[in-house]
């Protein structure tokens, strides 16, 4: 496992909350940031802050160079064949919307089908709903089974020559399920469909190789992988990006503008209108260096061991029901659960008083919760800095929840 001393790399993890040491179990929402990332951010603003791709002076050249180096760093991290295939965005949501609004609008026709799964985050569902409504296309959904695994046996029946796109998450932000994306991509390509992978929850937690996955697009965010908020990327195969119309119009993305019209730059700059999020994209590369210093395989192994411990401990708490696969090989470390008779907001409120930060609600996956027969769930999610002690704090906190909300028998008289 990753040594416990990595916690010291994260200033925020040293906080106390309500007088108790912070137990941070919400990394699926956003990760904490190591000191090297915070320092790199300060260094950018104090040593070479300048706009990119336009200045002739030294600082502008330096900022441009670092910005493009960051792109190459991100590309290498996911084993993209070339850096120009990485488009910087605000995050996963913007990356998926970019594909929907450019490729989607140019390609999708009435009667076409887009295949999603019932476990998608709203950000990999709503953009396609908007597109389908605009174009008269049809959305279809691959369901999941009682253990939160995609019903792959139904995939071939849902795929046809009408299917133009399959958009699927590599790792569920609620169930934790790791989906067999390479297998899905292979079958989708057989009917001529493209494949977009939502990597928001997978890229931070395991080695991800776009060439091995065989997908066409991958969307992911910096802030869930020790980087800053407001930065993310769309990776796409170069010939697809080249054929796609631009997303936003403006400066930076043009070759030549006349009163009559404009010609556009090649990817990725065609999709990066306006001043980009220079600082956070550059610092993202520092976060990637940090993660690779520990090793992505080691991070996955750390989480797998911790997950196995957590699932075992949670199973011992009466009334607690964990969703998603039981087999830790089939899942990542987002652990959504239900506490019988206690609403998730109440669970999270009680845990907060113990210094434990978990998420309560629908986690931007309302259709998934409806399938589970719930309006909401509580979610604990792990990362490289979590320890068995964090899990013990969680199970102790859940005992407190159960005590407080123990069934009451006497109806009080007024």
């Amino acid at each position: 496992m990753i040594p416990e001393r990595v916690r010291e790399d994260f200033p925020l993890l040293q906080l106390r909350v309500h007088g108790k040491p912070l137990v941070y179990l919400d990394s699926a929402a956003t990760s904490q940031k190591p000191r090297v990332v915070l320092e790199a951010l300060a260094r950018y603003y104090s040593e070479y802050n300048a706009n990119v791709h336009r200045g002739i002076y030294l600082l502008a050249e330096l900022a441009t160079q670092r910005y493009e180096e960051a792109r190459a760093r991100v590309a290498r991290f996911i084993n993209a064949p070339r850096p120009e295939e990485v488009v910087f965005t605000r995050g996963t949501t913007e990356a998926i919307n970019l594909v929907a609004y450019t490729w989607g609008r140019a390609t999708i026709r009435s009667g076409d089908e887009i295949l999603l799964t019932e476990m998608e985050h709203h950000s990999n569902m709503v953009p396609w709903q908007i597109l389908a409504a605009e174009k008269g296309a049809r959305l279809r959904y691959l369901p999941f089974d009682g253990q939160g695994r995609l019903a792959l046996e139904e995939l071939d029946a849902l795929l046809s020559e009408r299917t133009k796109l399959v958009a699927v998450t590599q790792q569920s932000n609620v169930l934790g399920t790791i989906n067999p994306v390479a297998e899905i991509a292979r079958r989708a390509h057989a009917v001529g469909a493209l494949v977009l992978v939502d990597g928001a929850q997978s890229v931070p937690h395991m080695p991800v190789d776009v060439q091995a996955l065989g997908c066409d697009f991958l969307a992911f965010s910096a802030h869930k992988m020790c980087g800053p908020t407001g930065a993310g990327a769309l990776w796409g195969r170069y010939e697809l990006l080249q054929a796609m119309p631009p997303f936003h119009g403006g400066g930076e993305m043009i070759m030549l503008v006349t009163l009559e019209g404009a010609t556009y730059k090649d990817p990725p700059h065609k999709f990066e209108a306006g001043t980009p999020n220079i600082a956070d994209c550059i610092v993202w590369a520092t976060a990637i260096d940090y993660l690779e210093g520990l090793g992505m395989a080691a991070i996955r192994e750390h989480e797998r061991q911790l997950l196995r411990y957590a699932l075992g401990q949670l199973r011992e708490v009466p009334g607690v029901r964990v969703f998603g696969p039981e087999d830790v090989e089939q899942r990542g470390s987002a652990i959504a659960f239900d506490v019988q008779g206690v609403h998730p907001h109440d669970v999270a409120q009680v845990l907060d008083q113990e210094g434990i930060a978990v998420r309560a609600g629908h986690h931007c996956a309302q259709p998934l919760h409806r399938r589970l027969g719930l309006a909401a769930s509580t979610r604990a999610s792990l990362y490289l800095y979590n320890t068995p002690g964090d899990i013990d704090a969680l199970t102790r906190g859940l005992e407190t929840v159960r005590r407080l909300f123990a069934p009451r028998t006497a109806v009080r008289d007024r």
Partner: protein, 153 residues
């Protein structure tokens, strides 16, 4: 700020033994309330007799605060005219803003502790916002309504 301020015994009692839970087949006012933040949903049914609220029932799913508040509300507004019920809604909202209220001697006073947990105030007001919306729609001649805590109060 402790949990005892939030989870008063009275609140937990209303949560585990909600008063007036269920549907009313012959309701004069039906209204649904929703809290988009957490996906909680609530439906209210009001039956009138001679301009007075004869019966209120609610159903739905939500946290202890939203369910207890709804349960207490059904007791509070029974026997009131629609105008009086809307005054109660205004007084409850005022109490949740920290103002004086006429509820000091009722179960509702227990919900004052929620004020220390600002995120949860909307849980407490959900049923009340829904009732207000339902009465307003009824008075304007419409019978069904949908209220949300995201509507500016």
């Amino acid at each position: 700020m402790g949990l005892d301020d939030l989870y008063r015994e009275i609140i937990l009692d209303h949560y585990s033994h909600p008063r007036n839970r269920g549907r009313l087949a012959a309701a004069d006012i039906t209204v649904e309330g929703a809290n988009p933040l957490c996906g909680d949903e609530l439906a209210l049914f009001v039956r009138l007799e001679g301009g007075v609220i004869a019966e209120v029932r609610f159903e739905g799913r939500g946290c202890s605060i939203s369910q207890a508040s709804a349960s207490m509300m059904t007791e509070e507004v029974r026997g009131k005219t629609l105008a009086q019920a809307r005054e109660s809604v205004a007084a409850f909202k005022a109490m949740m803003r920290g103002e004086a209220s006429p509820f000091d001697d009722t179960d509702l006073a227990a919900l004052q502790g929620v004020r220390k947990f600002p995120v949860r105030v909307k849980c407490a007001t959900l049923a009340w916002v829904a009732l207000d919306q339902g009465i307003e729609e009824f008075q304007q001649g419409r019978t069904a309504a949908r209220a949300t805590t995201e509507v500016p109060e």
